[in-house]
Each structure stands twice: as structure tokens, then as C-alpha cells.
């Protein structure tokens, strides 16, 4: 992937995750949120926020961040809920894109951005 393509994905992710209103309506439909006894960083809402703050350089890539993003099962329930409640974000796809950037070492968060 060339640098322009990476920039485009980062920019899309930042823009789309920035649209999340933090209403949290999606949390209850997430099986991982349920399985972890309702931890918000293990919910679709939490993952979108984490992605946003990773790409804008507020967060570092660290174990809890990776754990949160990589526990997404891509079941898509949050997408349906977000659509039904009017925001219409493709939440699971955004999380998938974020995981891709991480796996390719194309986004590393605060410390690495400074370097």
C-alpha cells in the first residue's frame, strides 16, 4: 500500500469515527461487551473512540488498545443498530480498517507519531 492510500484510510477513519456521537446505543448488542460483563472499551462505541484517539495521536498503540480492537467479532450487530438509531456508521467495517492499519504497522499512536 502506498503512502497516499494509507493517508486516505487514516483520513476516512478519523472522519468517520469522529461522526460517532457517543450515544452508546450500540453497546448492548455487542456480544463481547456482554461477555466481558459490560466493559465499555470492549464495545463498538469504545472501539470507535479508541480508533479516533489512536489516529489523532492521543493514544499509544498498547496491549489494552490492541485487545479492545481485536476482540471485535465483526458480527455487524452494531452496524444494524447504528443504522436503526439514525447515525448509520459502518462501525464494524471501520474497526476492520483500523485493525488493518495496525497489523501493517501503518499507525502506531502517540509515541511513534512523535518519532
Amino acid at each position: 500500500m502506498d503512502i497516499n492510500e494509507t493517508k486516505a484510510i487514516r483520513s476516512t477513519l478519523l472522519e468517520e469515527a469522529g461522526k460517532c456521537r457517543a450515544c452508546r446505543f450500540c453497546i448492548d448488542v455487542c456480544p463481547v461487551y456482554q461477555a466481558t460483563e459490560w466493559v465499555e472499551s470492549m464495545s463498538p462505541y469504545g472501539r470507535l473512540q479508541i480508533l479516533k484517539y489512536l489516529i489523532n495521536g492521543t493514544l499509544d498503540e498498547d496491549d489494552p488498545l490492541i485487545y479492545s480492537l481485536y476482540t471485535c467479532l465483526q458480527c455487524g450487530r452494531c452496524d444494524l443498530l447504528c443504522r436503526a438509531k439514525g447515525q448509520n456508521l459502518e462501525v464494524s467495517n471501520l474497526i476492520r480498517m483500523g485493525k488493518y492499519l495496525l497489523s501493517q504497522g501503518l499507525v502506531k499512536g502517540k509515541k511513534s507519531e512523535k518519532v
Binding site: R21, C23, R24, F25, V39, S41, G46, P64, S68
Partner: protein
């Protein structure tokens, strides 16, 4: 404040178990974020998120916090629209999500719920028992009953039709800021006259204690009828609301509206034909089917005072679901097109129209952002005016978002004072402090500070909310 986070994590883990303490930044930031339009700042990020399972654990967390003088911020689902949910200082964030047990006792005519129970779950369970939950926020899917009673919000419910949720609370278990666990109220459906400490904690917004058990009366599930009415303009709806109160007509349970702009957006979003003007929606209730049909018919007859283009009872629930979604999700439908900055004015009912037009003028003449659009929707029959500045972009710097929010707040506070309003249901302390000082002078605010100091001498719980955000 110098806090050793590793030490803090170990100490909290001794109380609630290691699995239920988080000190990583991603989790802390996720819990700190709320619906307020600007991003969390470093001062908002908790040192730790702790997730107790019972009142004894909460008591120990609070005793520990008092010993170490670390603030504790109580978290339900973080759905407050005006900043109550965002910690104002670095703190231990106490998440009530694990305390969501609901028990219904039909033979005692009440139910009990843990603070973390989501309203949708409570409603589902109560419906099986043919009972109604008297709380109707748009965030019902995830809003907690603890947060709802701590704020005492009716939301869609018209106060004059059903009262406030707190009116149905029989008793509470509360952990005081210093860790004592107390019980208030009654297990009878007969409530105390005179001083009932239950009332001190209803609407206390987590400043005076953590609600750990809520006992509420079972209300027989009424029959409902639904009405939709189309008007040439919002003014006709305002006239109808004022006339309803002037004539002493019993108000519907819900009396909601979409102004011309919100109606276009909402109806398009749900796939209905664009209305010609503004739309009003009502839910009428009665204890018998015949009664609810009669009330709906009478109300439609009354509504002729506002000259609607059309007013009808909607029997087809699929149609009603679409119509209602255009209103229920109006906030999200507008938000996905840009950025919204809300306000709340709750005027004297005979001044509704004047207050509405002044609120509109405030929005259209903002100094912090030139030429925003005006949009309004919400609980107009309550009466509540939600006057929104709508800006059709997300690309607004944080400092500008803050300036717009503060200007809208300050100028709509003036309208609440001018028209005798209380600040409304969004008017939580986090946002209401400057209003309280202006509306009631410093004396009343001093009383609140004294009350807080008496019960929470170290200012541990929800520190900063009684000082208000800026």
C-alpha cells in the same frame, strides 16, 4: 494531585477484584467521553475505572477515596447531554454496570432495580407484569435507572400528565460519600408525609450519594392511542399547547413536535413523504381501551384550535413506528448531517410562543459562529423548547465548539430567567450552576454548597459538577 496509579490499582483490586479495575488509557478515555460536542481533555481522564458489584464494595471504595482524598465520579451509561457524565477532575470512575439486577414483586406492588439496569430491560420486564415504567428518555436503550432517578428526568413524558419518575420512587438504598450505607422510604405503597429523605437523593445527581437500589411502585400498564398532526407552521403547534393549558385540557402523556426543518429531515430518514410544515405527535393514555379512544377523540377535537392541515389517530403500529422514529431519532438524524448545539428553555406556559421566537433569534444571531441554521424538536407540550444551532459540518475546532456551547447556554439561561423557567431537564448542575446563581441569587447556591459539604465533607463525589463546567 499526585496519585500512584499502580498503587491505586492494587488497592482497588483488593476491594472489587483485579478483573474489575482498569487503569489503561484507552478504557479511561472511553469512559470519560460523553455526548458533549468537544473531545475529552487530560483533566477529564480518570486514574482508574472501578466496577463494583454491590453496595458494600462501593462503600469500601468511597472510604478509601476519602482516606486518600481522591474524587470519585459515578458512571451509569454516560448519556447525559450536558456534561454531567464527563468527569471534571481526574478521579476514580465508579461504573455501576455490574449492578443491574431487577426484581418484580407483584404482590407487594413494587419492583426493585440495581442502578446499572438499563431502562429498556426494566420496561421489558415490567411489561410482562402489565406494568409501566414512568420514564421516557430517548436514550432508553442504554440509559440506566440509577442515572434516571439521580437526575429525575421525565424526557418525553409531560409532567402535567404523569409527574416525575421520582414521584413513583418508594425507597432507596444509598451509599453516602463517606461510605455509610443507608436505606430510605417504605416497602408500602403508602409514602411518608413530611420529611422523607428519599426525596433528598432523587435528583441529587450523584452529589449526595450513590444510589445502589431503587424501589418503585408498579403502575398498571395503561392503554395508549397515538395521534399525528400536520401543521402549516410551528406557531400553530405553540398556539395549541398554550390553549391546552389555558383551557385546562388534560395533557397527553407525550406531546412532541418537529419544526419544519426537523420534520423534513426526520420524515426523509424514515422513508415517509416530506410533510408540508411542522408535525406534532401525541401519545394519549387511559386505564381502559374505551377511555383512551375517547380521550384521543376528544383531543383531536380540541386540536382544531390550532388549525392543523390534518390530525388523525394512527392505529397501524408499523406506520406509527415510522412516524415516531422521525421524532425519537431526530437528534441523531440532524447530527449525522453536521453538528448540533442544543439548549433548553422551559417557559411559563402562557409565554411559550414568545420564548420560542426569542430562542430562535438567539440561535440565528450567535456571535461565536456566524449564520448557523435553527432547528427545533422535542417535548413542546411539557413545555420544553429545545432550540438547536445546526452547522452542516463536523469540521469545527474544539475551541469554537466550546464557545458556541457556552454562548448558547448563557443566552438561553437569560430566557429561562425572563420567562420563569427552571432550566429544564437538561439543566443538570454541571450546566446549571451559572443559571442557579442568576435565577435565585447566591443564597440558594450557598444552601446547595452547605448541603454538599455536610454530607460530603471532602467533596469526593462528582467533584466539579456543583461548580459547573466552563
Amino acid at each position: 494531585m499526585d496519585v500512584n496509579v499502580a498503587r491505586l490499582a492494587k488497592d482497588l483490586a483488593k476491594i472489587v477484584g483485579k478483573k474489575h479495575v482498569f487503569t489503561d488509557r484507552p478504557t479511561s478515555i472511553v469512559y470519560a467521553k460523553d455526548v458533549m460536542p468537544w473531545d475529552v481533555e487530560e483533566k477529564n481522564v480518570p486514574y482508574a475505572v472501578v466496577r463494583p458489584s454491590n453496595s458494600q464494595e462501593i462503600s469500601k471504595v468511597l472510604q478509601y477515596a476519602n482516606e486518600k482524598l481522591i474524587p470519585v465520579h459515578v458512571h451509569g451509561s454516560g448519556t447525559s447531554l450536558v456534561g454531567l457524565a464527563r468527569p471534571k477532575t481526574r478521579c476514580i470512575l465508579l461504573d455501576t454496570a455490574r449492578m443491574k439486577e431487577i426484581r418484580v414483586y407483584p404482590e407487594r406492588s413494587y419492583f426493585e432495580a440495581g442502578p446499572g439496569a438499563h431502562l429498556a430491560e426494566v420496561r421489558k420486564l415490567l411489561t410482562r407484569h402489565k406494568a409501566m415504567l414512568p420514564v421516557f428518555p430517548g436514550s432508553e436503550l442504554v440509559a440506566t435507572i440509577g442515572g434516571t432517578i439521580a437526575v429525575n428526568t421525565s424526557a418525553h413524558g409531560v409532567d402535567a400528565a404523569l409527574g416525575k419518575p421520582g414521584d413513583y420512587v418508594l425507597g432507596l438504598e444509598v451509599v453516602l460519600p463517606t461510605g455509610e450505607i443507608i436505606s430510605t422510604g417504605t416497602e408500602s405503597t403508602r409514602r411518608a408525609a413530611g420529611i422523607d429523605p428519599t426525596k433528598f437523593f432523587i435528583g441529587s445527581e450523584g452529589l449526595l450519594g450513590v444510589l445502589t437500589l431503587i424501589r418503585m411502585r408498579l403502575i398498571p400498564l395503561p392503554h395508549f392511542e397515538h395521534i399525528v398532526a400536520y401543521y402549516k407552521s410551528t406557531d400553530d403547534i405553540l398556539d395549541t399547547v398554550m390553549e391546552m393549558y389555558r383551557q385546562g385540557i388534560f395533557p397527553p402523556l407525550f406531546f412532541e413536535f418537529l419544526d419544519e426543518r426537523a420534520a423534513r429531515v426526520g420524515y426523509e430518514a424514515v422513508g415517509l413523504e416530506e410533510p408540508l410544515g411542522a408535525v406534532a405527535m401525541m401519545r394519549v393514555h387511559s386505564w381502559s381501551k374505551v377511555g383512551s379512544e375517547e380521550r384521543a377523540g376528544d383531543f383531536i377535537e380540541f386540536m382544531k384550535v390550532g388549525n392543523p392541515i390534518e390530525a388523525k389517530i394512527v392505529k397501524d403500529m408499523e406506520e406509527w413506528d415510522k412516524i415516531w422514529s422521525s421524532r425519537a431519532e431526530a437528534g441523531n438524524y440532524m447530527y449525522r448531517l453536521g453538528t448540533t448545539f442544543g439548549s433548553e428553555v422551559t417557559p411559563r406556559v402562557d409565554k411559550l410562543k414568545d420564548a420560542y421566537h426569542e430562542a430562535k433569534s438567539v440561535i440565528l444571531n450567535l456571535e461565536s459562529y456566524k449564520n448557523p441554521e435553527f432547528v427545533s424538536f422535542g417535548h413542546i407540550g411539557a413545555p420544553t423548547i429545545h432550540a438547536y444551532a445546526f452547522i452542516p459540518t463536523k469540521d469545527i475546532p474544539n475551541e469554537v465548539k466550546k464557545a458556541i456551547t457556552l454562548e448558547v447556554r448563557e443566552k438561553t439561561e437569560e430566557l429561562n430567567i425572563k420567562y420563569g423557567g427552571c432550566g429544564g431537564e437538561w439543566g443538570l448542575t454541571a450546566q446549571r450552576v451559572s443559571f442557579l446563581k442568576k435565577r435565585y441569587e447566591e443564597g440558594l447556591y450557598e444552601v446547595l454548597l452547605k448541603l454538599k459539604r455536610a454530607i460530603d465533607p471532602n467533596d469526593i463525589l462528582n467533584r466539579g459538577n456543583l461548580q459547573g463546567w466552563t
